[in-house]
Subunit: 231 residues, 2 copies
């Protein structure tokens, strides 16, 4: 019997990764005089991964990584005004309206009442609260779980905190690496809902075949699946 | 009967504000050629408060605010290397060792088992997890509650999430404004433990007189107080 259904937030409930791509493109264009665009994107990704242990996920860390990358690849020769422009790119991301993905609201309405529904995200708490508020979906969620990482140990803590057994937990999300694999390994259920863009850091190479793993093409297909599972 | 005791983290369990002061001083020194130190500190504070709604609390937002302030007060004339130096100031803050305040560990040991003990902080989740890990105190806490703000509505959500009544909740912390007042207003208990430095944004002007409000000079005095309260 499934008791808690956790939803990933970014690119599961609402659009997120495309905004990062858009920001990266603006960044690369800005620095074009110093480095070809595809190379500066690579450098930015390298900086982000190097800083992950210190900055974690979210837009503020991304802004700092853009600034650091711009300094490095220009050999500290960018005009100072570029720093303003980079900060502006980040601020625009922070103030983006929330674009709900199709079917999300209906699925939440359908499942609510029968399950405790939580939001499980590794984004920044303030950002995610703001997005949840803007989304109009807040009433469907029991609470937000912000996780600094989505590895096995983090889900273990989450499940313990929810006071349930692992096989009473179902996670839905767009990242096989972060939303699905660790949950399956702990004994929970995972439903993968693909999104058309995935951050390189979130991709995995192999296919998953597992008795508690399911894949739907769109979120609205998940309701019947969960009802069937939970008989 | 008190069921949950929540501890604030920064400047209640471990040293924090002095590191911000240290960083602010380095920042003001760096910009001395452009503005007298006390003025640039004021400008920095203004930027932080203006950005709070967007960046929230924590070191990454502070870093971005330092960069923005430096750009503004120098009229975009600082040497680019100053941006590196500011980022360095922030990174050093992120990598600071954890300095436990006296008595903290004993109090947690003493209370643990009799109460559910949580960490309630509005810092950045990743930072606070890192500090908790470094502190060696993690085993004493049931879990971390990261709050984007510590206003009444936020504590209300927290208490609901903990599944207890407000008068079963006791909060301990160094900020009257953030740790104590909202909790008293909701019907919970508050114990104030002063710290020698308080961020301007966290200060209040008036005295608190309330039947569920208590003040101790040092954290180790809180155990007897709680035992007496809880009879």
């Amino acid at each position: 019997m499934i008791k808690v259904i956790a939803f990933d937030a970014d690119d599961t409930l609402w659009v997120n990764e495309p905004f990062f791509r858009e920001a990266e493109e603006k960044f690369a264009e800005l620095l074009e005089d110093f480095m070809p665009q595809h190379s500066s994107l690579k450098e930015l990704y390298r900086t982000e991964i190097e800083n992950l242990y210190m900055y974690g996920y979210g837009i503020k860390g991304f802004m700092l990584s853009m600034i650091e990358t711009a300094m490095r690849i220009s050999d500290r020769k960018i005009p100072l005004i570029f720093i303003d422009k980079i900060i502006q790119i980040g601020r625009e991301m922070l103030e983006k309206p929330v674009e709900l993905l199709p079917g999300v609201e209906e699925v939440l309405k359908e499942l609510n009442g029968d399950y405790r529904i939580v939001l499980a995200t590794k984004g920044d708490l303030l950002d995610q609260e703001r997005k949840l508020k803007k989304s109009g979906l807040a009433d469907h969620f029991h609470h937000i779980e912000v996780m600094s990482e989505k590895k096995e140990a983090d889900f273990k803590k989450l499940i313990r905190h929810l006071d349930i057994a692992a096989d009473e937990f179902l996670m839905m999300g767009n990242s096989l690496k972060s939303d699905i694999l660790p949950v399956l390994n702990l004994g929970g259920f995972g439903i993968h809902i693909p999104f058309h863009i995935t951050w390189e850091h979130e991709t995995i190479e192999h296919e998953i075949i597992h008795e508690r793993f399911f894949h739907v093409n769109k979120i609205s297909d998940s309701v019947k699946l969960i009802r069937d599972l939970d008989q």
